[in-house]
Symmetry: C2
Subunit: 323 residues, 2 copies
Amino acid sequence: MDKADKIKAGDIRTASRLIRNLEDEVPGATCTLKLIFPFTGKAHVIGLTGSPGAGKSTLADMLISSFRAKDRTVGVLAVDPTSPFTGGAILGDRIRMQRHAEDPGVFVRSLATRGAMGGISKAVGDAIHILDAMGKDIILVETVGTGQQEVEIINHAHTIVVILIPGMGDDIQAMKAGIMEIADIFVINKADRDGADKLLHELRAVLDMAPERKSGWQPSIVKIGNAFEPESFHASIDELAQKIEDHYRNLVTTERLFIRQRRKIVAEINEALRASILEPVLKELIASGEMEEMLEKLSRKESDPYTLAEEVSRRYLKDRSGK
Amino acid sequence: MDKADKIKAGDIRTASRLIRNLEDEVPGATCTLKLIFPFTGKAHVIGLTGSPGAGKSTLADMLISSFRAKDRTVGVLAVDPTSPFTGGAILGDRIRMQRHAEDPGVFVRSLATRGAMGGISKAVGDAIHILDAMGKDIILVETVGTGQQEVEIINHAHTIVVILIPGMGDDIQAMKAGIMEIADIFVINKADRDGADKLLHELRAVLDMAPERKSGWQPSIVKIGNAFEPESFHASIDELAQKIEDHYRNLVTTERLFIRQRRKIVAEINEALRASILEPVLKELIASGEMEEMLEKLSRKESDPYTLAEEVSRRYLKDRSGK
């Protein structure tokens, strides 16, 4: 069996190695991605987003159990911003969701991003393809929900779950992040805390003001309380899992799934173009020492970044003036 | 006077229009940037970062007053993630820091970012150049502190201030965001709340574990309490403003300023290269209808994004095999 066949058969070692090889830009890794691409598009991809401290990892962990109880196979991708000093995710796979480690129906990976060159969103898209080709029914993508990079990551999801907690100005947060309009389900987590009702009212008010969605899907709100009251806690987790599957069914029956798929594809082609056009140029400039020369010129103010970049562009891009 | 001269003379209308023209990609806007570039590099750029609800805007507002009391001129750039539906910043200049609107020594701008093509970090870098050429002594950049995009924005700053609040898992947040190692000053905001001492202890513990910084600068921690106790509140704001200026003096005297300048320049050239190499290709693909054709092929699974992007790259990038 070649690597693509092994991934299609669900082999965890091959999948893990491919994700790592893509991160490390090992030559040939993209070939395997091309081979598995025709076998993707079956998984339900769910974005779990919310500010740090909102409880995303715990919810992801509980959702795994809930989906597993319904016999769904689950993949989880946790996106950790990289420390620019260590070059790696600080919270790695090891300390996450360990209790599912023995379950062959669950596959959990952290994705780290290196340096300032971007590409985390592409890494997420690639990893989703791999988990999808492995046959995972559900793919949970856990990401910090603020900032443009995160909005890009979330473009890879069919169903977007935004997790809020009381007392944190989270209402305003949701609006600021521009994620309000693209959220399908809101979770009010830690709903036993002071301010949960206030948050619920504010959220309802904002949703009521929003224009009705063409899809007919009105964003749901799920309240999740304290894990120390296990009965109501587990019931609310199951409610959330059910709402998530309801949303996917709504996408399928209203043919809105095609619109979400298109959003995914737009993200994928943009990221692939960046990797094929901009990144090879950056690598050559660094390898030849020209990047360093440009930096020296800029620090001596002998030129400006705009002029230098235009010169590089003329040298690398073909002349298209005849067009 | 041409536009560059007007900006150098501090003209607010010309500066505002240039920032807007750059956002709208009006032809010729980059020319003005090139002309003002030699007159940049004098401002002290401060990144104010923290999760939504941490109180960044309020602190920025108070810092303006504190710096103005010392006769420093101040520019403020507020980075709001864009709503993908409205294409604009939701919280605009109008509702921010209105009380400084009449002060000619203060210039406040919100920056919005459009669509998924990235570029917010470049927009911030460009706007910093404009405020710098206008002669602002201090430039405050207020941004949500999590996610890779935000780490890129923060690369434009000389001094990085991370704002934390008690009781939000903010300790873990700081570590996850990978911003711990690049922060110069920590603010414990809303320090009258429960959990402020716990946060302070955890922060100190993490800082004690961190390797000593080569610069000799040990990150400071400033506690800021409740605005309803104006005396101690204002004293702590002044302390923060003083610490910020101390940090800059430390950069200058230890010659570490060059290292920060280099980080800024690396960010600027990377962003300019993206704008000159990748973006023209994307625009042509969209204008010619080829982007749409690729999206159709992908949705019919007739090809994969990696193969399509490589084909585009072969057509647009010059052959460099002879090198």
